[in-house]
């Protein structure tokens, strides 16, 4: 038995070389997942509930996921504790090297960030394929690609997949990778939770993709009862997949909040925190506290479908409105989980490329926290057409309109920073400016929809659909792409081709606006969403939209080519600081060293102190250690 001493000044900790019975890696995880699924199905079906075999599928997915996590290695630490083995409370080393570590359990926040980035891009690709199928189907007023009953299944798959992506596509890759750097720490608070938040995502995506094998789920992403109660086994994918994503959101939030609260370096005061960290922090507040509500509601759905309880069945003492309330109590904060870190990215990048301090930093923080707070008080605007008490409508209309105030503050800060600035029109900056344009349209149409009369008229139409695509695609996705162009050199050591990047921006910006802007008109002309047919008079409009949607998808393929070529086939290492900006991550060498900081830095100034004659460095790396 090999032993070692760990720690400095503390008690010695003995380590043993005990091995688990099974090697823990991705392959073991997959094998155990298959076995777990089989066992779960057998047990569930054997219980004999009158449930159309939903119990078997639910238990199959659950057991499969749990055993997948065991196979990956998540049980090793708790088992070691349980057996009383010596444990090491730190995540200093991965067993695997090279590319293999990205396919296995790693507790390194940098590896997890890249794992997230790749997974999110792949999920976005699947969701994009769904979008293309939808638009192809809508080339004709009658069914074209899929029959009407499957069209809603297709829309549901697209929407849930994209919701998965939008939930985690900023905090996952960029939050995990850069927050420790930005606050000056060498560790995350809970590396295992951080890794767990990622490793819950692949099973969730696979389970969701498996839904069509069981007939899919004809409920959209909202999963409303009684559609959910009537749906076949495909809806079990929704329950388990969404529960996994909710769990990932919650554990990721706990880790991120604790890290920012507890592990900031000396000098990294709350008023020096980079605005991107504030965006991640506020989104993490929402994720941590909203996702448990969703988890509870999904467990109720699972119980209704397996044990025949009656949470959402009116005729047996339940109520579909219970689901609507619980779902949207999570669901509306959820949309701010999407957008708050996107605000953070845009406000982070604009000062760097405007070479000006962030105008109204504290106001921006108030704006982010204001959105965080108000987002808890707006959920019932989703129920305006569901028959809520009329007396409640004015309050929720007002609260929804009020949330445009902190959102407007974010715009004010962005434009205040851009005012009279010497703007570098880099590719990340172009995407930030694109974000401001698109999100303005999405936001203003949201204010319009928050009014009860317009919401009642337009709720089920393409107007509403165009509104949230302008906020999520035109807003969040543009911010994500800005972040990829900006941070890619630091994350991968390779720079993206900026000429292709500029082509990508203009192509995507034009195609996006020409695809989605006409959908406001389609909505006003009463074209209903989630329906495969429409009035023949709207065919030209729809063909136009589909054409530009294809071009939008093609622009993303160009982006994918740029990413793959630059990452895997470009031998040239990116410079350490290609943007010449103040943020601390760019002061570190490329490729990044294994250990973030040899010595914990002391922050001496903010990251946006541009325009000063002799600005202080953002951080003091600290004195050299005295020779032993």
């Amino acid at each position: 038995m090999a032993t070692a001493t760990m720690g400095s000044g503390g008690p010695a900790l003995q380590a043993s070389e005990r091995q688990m019975v099974l090697p823990t890696n991705l392959l073991t995880g997959i094998v155990l997942a298959a076995a777990g699924y089989y066992v779960g199905v057998q047990i569930g079906n054997g219980l004999g509930f009158n449930d159309q075999l939903n119990t078997g599928v639910l238990l199959g997915y659950t057991f499969g996921t749990l055993l997948f996590l065991v196979g990956i290695g998540f049980a090793n630490y708790p088992l070691a504790r349980l057996f009383g083995w010596p444990i090491a409370p730190q995540s200093a080393g991965d067993e695997y090297r090279g590319a293999w570590r990205f396919l296995n359990l790693s507790l390194d926040h940098k590896v997890i960030g890249i794992q997230y980035l790749v997974a999110m891009l792949m999920a976005m690709f699947f969701g994009g394929i769904g979008a293309m199928l939808i638009r192809t189907n809508l080339l004709s007023p009658d069914q074209l690609v899929v029959p009407p009953d499957k069209y809603l299944v297709l829309v549901s798959m697209h929407s849930v997949m994209m919701i998965f992506v939008a939930s985690a596509a900023i905090v996952g890759p960029f939050g995990n990778f850069f927050v420790p750097y930005m606050i000056g720490t060498n560790r995350m608070a809970f590396p295992r939770l951080e890794a767990l938040s990622f490793w819950l995502v692949p099973p969730a995506i696979i389970i969701l993709l498996a839904a069509p094998l069981f007939g899919g789920f004809p409920t959209g992403w909202t999963g409303y009862a009684p559609l959910s109660e009537q749906a076949g086994q495909g809806f079990d994918s929704y329950i388990v997949g969404f529960t996994l994503i909710g769990t990932a959101l919650c554990v990721s939030g706990i880790n991120m909040l604790t890290t920012v609260i507890s592990l900031r370096a000396p000098g990294m005061t709350w008023t020096r925190l980079p605005i991107f960290v504030w965006g991640v922090f506020s989104a993490s507040i929402l994720g941590t506290f909203a996702a448990p509500i969703l988890a509870s509601a999904l467990i109720m759905q699972g119980l209704d479908r397996s044990m025949n309880t009656s949470f959402f069945i009116s005729s047996n003492g339940g109520s579909p409105y219970l689901w609507e309330n619980l779902f949207w109590f999570f669901g509306h904060p959820e949309v701010y989980i999407f957008i708050l870190p996107a605000f953070g990215i845009v406000m982070e990048l604009i000062p760097h490329f405007a070479r000006k301090p962030l105008w109204g930093y504290k106001t921006a923080v108030v704006g982010l926290l204001g959105v965080t707070l108000l987002s808890w008080f707006v959920w019932q605007h989703h129920l305006f057409v569901s028959g809520i008490a009329p007396a409640l409508r004015p309050f929720y209309m007002l609260s929804t309109e009020m949330i445009s105030i902190p959102t407007g503050i974010v715009f004010l800060v962005a434009f205040g920073t851009l005012w009279r600035a010497k703007i570098s029109m880099t590719v990340p900056m172009l995407f930030c400016l694109g974000f401001l344009f698109n999100f303005l349209i999405g936001g203003l149409s949201g204010v319009f929809l928050s009014d009860v009369p317009s919401d009642v008229t337009l709720h089920g139409s393409y107007f509403s659909m165009a509104h949230f695509h302008f906020t999520i695609v035109g807003g969040e996705i543009f911010a994500i792409i800005a972040a990829i162009y900006y941070w890619f050199p630091k994350m991968t050591g390779r720079a993206l081709n900026m000429t292709l990047g500029k082509i990508h921006f203009w192509w995507m910006m034009i195609a996006f606006n020409l695809a989605f802007m006409p959908l406001f008109a389609a909505g006003i002309l009463d074209m209903p969403r989630r329906v495969s047919t429409y009035a023949p008079s709207l065919q030209s409009l729809n063909d136009w939209v589909s054409f530009w949607a294809y071009l939008l998808f093609a622009s993303m393929l160009l982006f994918a080519v740029n990413v793959i070529w630059s990452w895997f086939f470009n031998a040239k290492v990116a410079p350490a600081d290609p943007w010449h900006v103040r943020s601390i991550e760019w002061t570190l060498p490329t490729p990044l060293p294994r250990r973030n900081f040899e010595r914990i830095p002391t922050f001496t100034s903010g990251p946006y102190d541009y325009g000063q004659p002799s600005p202080r460095p953002v951080a003091d790396p600290g004195p050299e250690p005295a020779p032993a």
């Binding site: 349980l82 200093a92 890249i114 509500i293 339940g318 914990i600």
Partner: protein, 214 residues
């Protein structure tokens, strides 16, 4: 693969399949830092769990107020025996209290602390057992419909699930009270787990008042 600018790490001193490995001195992993992180993280986790349970209490009051089809309490359904519910609550409180007491003496009187932990575990297991007994003798069948039966088995079920997890962690804490075990090295982190035990006991108490008396 040309990817991944994360520089290759030096080979760690020890590998432990899938587990973090021992490495060089690193002040950010000192017990004091871990205690701070555990304290903040546990509080956040407890607030998140408040939201989790709030959904179930919301379901209780919402469905009770609606009483759709007069099926909140279907005909023939009665509340389970209050005595059994009280025993469950008392055992949960005892388990939390014993852990709390043990965690505070873990450095000064390790053997006493271990005894307290064992007693806490026994109380928790008994609590689990009584809850299972109650589930098997409810006096109603949730499969027959009804808002109350649905909320009862759901709320009690998710609480029991969390209690099971807490008992497993408690067992791990006992295992780590050996000399140089993790609980001895990081006693403050061990104390913080008591907060969650107290929280679970509090939820048991509130659920008891709501499910048996309202």
């Amino acid at each position: 693969m040309a990817a991944g600018n994360v520089a290759e790490p030096a080979a760690p001193a020890f590998t432990h399949r899938g587990m973090p490995t021992l490495a060089t001195r690193s002040p950010e992993w000192e017990p004091e830092v871990d205690a701070r992180v555990a304290r903040v993280g546990t509080r956040i986790w407890i607030v998140a769990d408040v939201f989790f349970f709030a959904a179930w209490f919301f379901a209780f009051f919402y469905l009770r107020a609606l009483n759709n089809n007069y099926d909140w309490l279907p005909a023939g359904t009665t509340h389970p025996t209050r005595g059994i519910g009280a025993v469950i609550v008392l055992l949960a409180i005892a388990s939390a209290g014993l852990y709390w007491a043990g965690a505070r003496t873990v450095l000064a009187q390790r053997v006493t602390a271990r005894l307290f932990f064992w007693l806490a575990l026994i109380a928790g297991i008994l609590c689990f057992g009584v809850q299972i007994y109650e589930f098997r003798n409810l006096g109603f069948d949730p499969q027959q419909g009804g808002g109350y039966p649905s909320v009862f088995v759901g709320l009690k079920g998710v609480w029991l699930f969390q209690l099971t997890g807490a008992m497993l962690w408690l067992a791990a804490q006992i295992a780590q009270t050996r000399p140089m075990g993790d609980v001895i090295i990081r006693p403050k982190s061990a104390v913080i787990f008591g907060n969650f035990m107290v929280f679970l006991a509090a939820i048991a108490l509130v659920a008891y008042l709501v499910l048996y008396f309202v």
